[in-house]
Amino acid sequence: MPRQEIDLPHRLEYLSILDENGQVDTSLEPDIPAELLLKLHRAMVLGRRFDERMLTLQRQGRIGTFAPIKGQEASQIGAVAVLSSQDWLVPAFRETAAEIWRGKPMENVLLLFSGYNEGGQIDDALRNLPIAIPVGSQPLHAVGLGYGIKYHKKQEVVMTFFGDGATSEGDVHEALNFAGVFQVPVIFVCQNNHWAISIPRGKQTRAKTLAQKALGYGIPGMAVDGNDILAMVAAAKEAVERARSGGGPTFIEAITYRMSVHTTADDPKRYRTDEEVQEWVKRDPIVRFETYLGSKGLLTEEAAKAVDEEVRAEVKAAEERWAKRIEGPLDPITMFDGAFAELPPHLVSQREELKRELEAQKREAHHG
């Protein structure tokens, strides 16, 4: 048996359906009802507008640092669009549009990024995990959820997101490997937005694609044009169907671009050219989708404008709800909430300490 080529069990494919000019490959065009197409469009626009508004609020000092999603609307919405409400979302920290699609109130996003722990509160009806800031740490939780689903023989699936940078973390490797071994119903969506803060994709790994990393775990991998919502929906649908029918995990590399800053604390001028950004402006996921919808007669210019206005009003209403929520005085004592199911004695007494301090401070402020 001399130098024998080893057969690899999975083909690696790249999927693109709607190109940057809005031209569709009709042989691959997924059969999506008009209503859903419009819903997807609306969610993408909402994501974009909310992002813009948050940037303004941040620049005004009304909220703190956050990670804008601009340019990644299709890769997020296209992926979560195929989930049911019984499925699980395990986000990183740049999936605001996906979280909103999955029912997260925008005012909670604002609360969180304006420094209120209340913003992290997850509604009982939602199967979204909170955002996970430590890069690459959350896909393992998706694997555990997937195990629970399998164990209880449920039909649910889990979708977890992470970035190109996250693929370097050991935890992501462990998650993919565990997922392969336990054949859990988990869809790993790697949003390759070409940058991890200042580190370009090419310095993150020497692998030609991120999708090929799936081969090391014996699970199907796929590269998808992440700015093409039709391709994202098609790829995610395939993966979700496989997972739901017991076929195990899938790794999807959604090739997209971070059109904005890494976070509002970041200055991308230090490390990337404006030309590069301009190249990707041409590939804007919303623009091309609108062209497509237009060519299908589903969206007129006025209708698009109407959507935009509705969405702005929605953002504004959320902002007002948020403003109301933070109107009253802060209660710092709530910082002890949720530390444990039941507060142990030392925390009860530390909470008392804080209470006394706050009262003393108030007295002092009052008297002199």
Binding site: S137, H141, Y151, G170, N177
Partner: protein, 326 residues
Amino acid sequence: MAKMTMVQALNLALRQEMAKDERVIVLGEDVGLDGGVFRVTEGLIQEFGEERVIDTPLAESGIAGMSIGMAVYGLRPVCEMQFSGFSYYALHQMEAHAARLRWRSGGRFSVPMVLRCPYGGGVRALEHHSESREIYWAHTPGLKMVIPSTPRNARALLVSAIRDPDPVVFYEPKASYRAFREEVPEEEETFPLGTSVVAREGKDVTIITYGAMLRPTLEAAEQLKEKDGIEAEVIDLLTLMPLDDALFTASARKTGRVVVVHEAPRTYGAGAELVARLVEKSFLYLEAPVKRVTGFDIVIPLYQREMEYLPGVFRIAEAVRETLRF
């Protein structure tokens, strides 16, 4: 009641909890057919099957991270780190997520998991198999940290840890795994986390300890009684977080003199916190400085010298005498 080793008692706890509650799942490296390298999970895979007794790939962060997801889903994962020396691979998962998800999600999610780790020296093991670094966990907000000392309390504490609604790091003193047997009732026993016990009563001095150090401490107390007529009260902490400071401060108020014993390195070790609590709560009662009898602030040496590293009966007894001489 049967006389059991700690390994058997822990096995009993797992077996009964698994039989009672199908949400309880055991996972880790070699916990299945092999029964765990210390055999704590022996026979479980035969009784409960591969779905509930999971042999995982070799990845500690993976095991902890997957357990977190399982716990969020509603399972009660009990995961084993093969040795505490490899558990630090999982610290970031426990710190960043297990310890925080309840808080972060406003109470929507919780992480009722147990991270079991055999820890400590004295078993002639290889490097990395003898550490005591309980402080990494005990200092982490949001985690509970339990260290049993005998078969019976190990069994009861493990049951309570499994039922606890929050994540518990459970350090098992492997030097006590098979060193002695104790009656352990077949019927269910629990023991409240966060509660210490008086392991021996006395009036002259208080010795506070936990885990594998309980045995040399009790032996030292016995010697002190016989040779010196000193009656030492021995407190067994059992839980390091939350810390039951009521019991040991009461004892200190009675005796006025305290020695703390642990095998972990001294500086920034658990003993420091005990001293600080004593100073905060019983300052005026202390008649002598609190002595710390501990491992040294170096890596525990390989086995030929580990007994000289670890606090032993001689070191403990001497420290007590010095404290009484003060």
